[in-house]
Symmetry: C2
Subunit: 434 residues, 2 copies
């Protein structure tokens, strides 16, 4: 008989159907038993009556993989409003010992290390699995949206001979045959080169940072949603694009992930069509005035100030997202475009969301001579960047781009305490498995 | 004025429009000049008349980034059947020196090393860029197709403590803080674990093989299109799925990439709805009979035999794809499912396409005890695989999966001589840049 998914059973009332999945819960009450079955779509309840079928359950424990056939009966209290009666059960994969962590309770009551150490088990908990269903949707919409906007997907190498940003500092070293290589910390060089080919490119890939700190906001291997766009009219085009993506995304999540948001007890973020934008210096003025923070002129906001300015934006502008712009030139990478009106500031931005930076972006230099000048100012040798510079030597349009930290965005969207909860198999200074 | 893309100009006959892009070709004939402009979409011709505009062209060279405004006139001989007249030109990014490699000829006449060493330039050639437009379509359709089939996208770590397949041999070593780690050579362990969570999962990510050979068919960093599917009824479900994907893909390419295939002078592959399937031993019998190859009983086909059996399948079955099945157990990884009818053979397959293997797949073991037995038979210590095994300890459905080598598939589809041509920035034993 054809397989039915748990989420579809209420369309089969009165019919005999077959479900496949895991025994999520098992309750034996003398001559009658109740099974909650879990499949990839959701949960469904089956009622097992009669001695013969109940005998089969004697040896069974949760997580046993089974096939259940039965008649669908309307039942308001069951998931999706229906349950299986007169169910017959067939074991596909037996389980010999009890699962050491209860994954069938509303909350999985373990600490973070236990949660992560036992990912092959703990991810089976409906709440845990909901997180990565939402995450998959974020990535899917990023690609769909950009493809519609004329972007081309690219793959840049992860094994590189040096870094654009730090030239090897804070990069993981790879033994590459007889050479020393590194794991890429950003596709920056490649995506800019490819603006010269496709104008608009994006990439969704792991990036690597060998930072030694272990905080709730950093991963050493993280998924970067990168884009770069040529022929911009203004650096604000990049922010406009992200704004448009986020609006489309939130709408999509409201449609496709209602169940996940409900299960996680989360509301969709408060969002305005236009995300408020303020210069760093303006943000600092607000922080001084509203929060008595002494920060005017500092090169960046600290974590506390990031939370405060987000709180302010939500209250004042009805948006949990806020763009902070015009970071000082000396704090941004050499390829950043300085503001012609004030060369100490840059045409760059961070996007803050619920108290954390989730995106960095801005306009880049596009004229060859500007690169040479900036590199010399910073004591960098252009000879070390020949591949990169060759793109600019032969004509590059005005362009800019951004990088979204996927786990950051997921964690803030779902109010997860620690960024590790937004990675299926996180890597940090102490964690190299599973 | 709003930007028009080159491919859209024939819908604007009689109107004044603005194009942005690179000067692809420039021909000056006294008082009149012809510019072929290249943008992300294609090429368009503009006619520059009058002394003032032609004066501006004096200093210009190809690859200069420009804005061109003019009136669209029907012209059968121009690309897309129209060209710009009375064009006015504005330079956005000047180019001071001539590009060292001509990228505006029909063929880019350089050897492979020069082609790859100068990727920032050579990728601008329309033919080169067409390759990766097709490649992006292959990946996009893989994800779209599987999402529709109920699959969930996953991200497995690239930095791992050991390998499932070879336990460290042929893996790149990473200095991970104070620990020794490796770059992942396959997401096998993770995708199987996640069958326990999502039933059906896929991943598109780089994988790494530290193989020392330098052939036209191998890359050390390659893009793997991976999937794994639970609750299969038969191991043939996996082949059915790939067959369906390839049929959808080829149809899609026929619609979306006509221009690219024309430019590259390639036909879509010959394909039947059902891809022929034959056991390795049957393929060997055919090779002996038809090609006088002495290969009966060998554990695999060699490259020449792969070409021959593909030729045979095309001639005999009208399909340039052919599945070879039932590889010997001792030649396949420990997690492969042995054929119950003949345990020396496995329920596994390779997909050959135009003479090369582009996919490996099959059913996997799903019963915990079967893993323990297989590991012991092979002298492996189950203790080293605790994370992996914990998934099987607590219930896993019958499942199988496959991995497609993206660059292999692209190279065969487009008849590229060397797999490196199907990677934007390939990595091999000698190549670590650009």
């Amino acid at each position: 008989m054809k397989r039915t998914l748990t989420t579809d059973i209420n369309r089969q009332i009165g019919k005999e159907i077959t479900l496949y999945g895991w025994i999520h819960k098992l309750r034996k009450l003398g001559g009658i038993s109740f099974i909650v079955l879990r499949d990839r779509a959701g949960l469904a309840q089956a009622v097992i009556d009669g001695a013969r079928e109940n005998d089969k359950l004697k040896e069974l424990t949760t997580e046993t993989v089974v096939k259940i056939t039965g008649k669908v009966v309307k039942e308001e209290r069951a998931p999706y409003g229906a349950e299986l009666h007169d169910a017959k059960i067939e074991v596909l994969s037996p389980v010999k010992e009890d699962i050491p962590i209860a994954i069938n309770k509303k909350e999985i009551n373990v600490n973070l290390d236990t949660l992560l150490d036992n990912r092959p088990i703990t991810l089976r908990s409906p709440k845990q699995r909901a997180i990565f269903k939402v995450q998959a949707e974020i990535v899917d919409e990023f690609r769909k949206f950009l493809t519609q906007e004329g972007f081309t997907e690219i793959n840049s190498p992860s094994i590189v001979s040096s870094g654009l940003e730090t030239g090897g500092a804070e990069m993981f070293e790879v033994k590459y045959f007889k050479q020393k290589a590194f794991l890429s910390q950003s596709p920056q060089m490649y995506k800019q080169i490819l603006v010269g080919v496709y104008e608009r490119v994006f990439e969704t890939a792991y990036m690597y940072r060998a930072e030694k700190h272990s905080t709730s906001r950093h991963l050493n291997e993280y998924m970067s949603l990168d884009l770069e766009m040529g022929f911009i009219n203004s650096w604000e085009d990049i922010m406009d694009l992200e704004e448009k993506y986020l609006n489309v995304l939130i709408e999509k999540l409201g449609k496709n992930c209602t169940e996940q948001f409900e299960m996680l007890g989360i509301d969709l973020p408060q969002m305005s069509k236009r995300i408020p934008r303020m210069k760093l210096i303006e943000a600092q003025e607000i922080l001084e005035k509203e929060y008595r923070e002494k920060c005017l002129g500092a090169p960046d906001l600290d974590p506390k100030q990031e939370r405060q300015i987000c709180e302010y934006a939500a209250k004042k502008h009805g948006s949990e997202f806020v763009f902070i712009t015009h970071y000082p030139s000396k704090k941004r990478p050499f390829y950043t475009y300085d503001d012609p009106d004030n060369p100490k500031e840059t045409l760059s931005f961070d996007l803050l969301f619920r108290g954390q930076e989730v995106t960095t972006g801005g306009q880049r230099l596009h004229i060859y001579e500007d690169y040479i000048k900036k590199m010399k100012d910073r004591g960098m040798d252009p000879k070390n960047f020949e591949d990169y510079l060759s793109a600019f030597r032969y004509g590059m349009p005005p362009h800019g781009g951004l990088a979204i930290g996927l786990e950051r965005l997921t964690a803030r969207l779902l109010n997860l305490d620690n960024i590790r909860e937004a990675s299926l198999f996180p890597r940090d200074i102490n964690r190299l498995r599973p």
